[in-house]
Symmetry: C2
Subunit: 136 residues, 2 copies
DNA sequence: GTGAAAAATGAAAAAACTTTTCAATTTTCG
DNA sequence: CGAAAATTGAAAAGTTTTTTCATTTTTCAC
């Protein structure tokens, strides 16, 4: 992520490194408040505004994606570039990406039924991760 | 919706009728603030809190679903019961439901790739509605 | 219908979250 | 290094959502 940031022309700063690292250490996705806390253990002076600003940049670059869950839509998870979606564990909240979303058929059917020209989609799966399955 | 509400044991009140009607008149999904405004034209004394509370009930009953869009996750659209998703027009924002989401294959693939046991999903499509296509 | 109990309401306050502002600091690059 | 540009963070402002609680409305048994 750091590399991508600087390749996109952004300065390499302590604050951004802290946010980026905090983000990549999170298995579950993190809210701006989470990131402030975790980020401050890496760079004590980190401010909440910078967390918001860094997330905005990362999101635009496609390095991070917002997760939309029952209890809120303000957590972010890292995302390798390209088309992918997240699967989220309902027990421990671990969020992982998966690629290979063969959804064209669904899009065509939706298009046929509604008359809309479908151009993009958002998909998120929920379930139980391998670790939590074992624990049960 | 009113029927479903009372069948679920909720009182039939002016305030709820106003919210329900405001909701069903909206083609695009409506935020709590929108619903307060529109709802007040039907029941002047309507309070914002009641809008929130009514939305919460309707959501639990599956009569309404939250839309997650670029500019926010706080608008709600009506939803006929059962499994369905929304397609949203990027131009005029009209949101319509479609059923027949044959997505099992995608879920299996995700499961195979990630090891998660996938139990549910959230899908939302974006595109251009018939009316807006004609206008172009 | 009537009246008591239960449910629901809405104003206001509190809490939570996000954005804006701006002076100061940090980073970049010649 | 040193100037210019970019970034930062504290505080203030703006939004949105939730909580509280006294009052009003609805329901239901009679």
């Amino acid at each position: 992520m750091l590399r991508a940031l600087s390749e996109a022309g952004f300065s390499d700063t302590r604050a951004r490194r802290a946010v980026v690292q905090a983000l990549s250490e999170s298995r579950t996705g993190a809210t701006p408040a989470d990131l402030l806390t975790r980020g401050r253990s890496l760079h004590a002076g980190l401010g909440q505004v910078t967390v918001y600003r860094t997330l905005e940049i990362l999101e635009h670059l496609g390095l991070v994606r917002k997760l939309h869950q029952e209890d809120g839509c303000s957590s972010y998870a890292t995302s390798s570039a390209g088309h992918a979606h997240h699967v989220i564990c309902r027990t421990c909240r671990a969020a992982v990406e998966f690629e290979g979303c063969r959804i064209e058929e669904v899009l065509h059917e939706a298009s046929a039924r509604t008359g809309y020209k479908v151009e993009s989609h958002f998909l998120e799966l929920f379930g139980v991760c391998p670790a939590c399955r074992r624990k049960k």
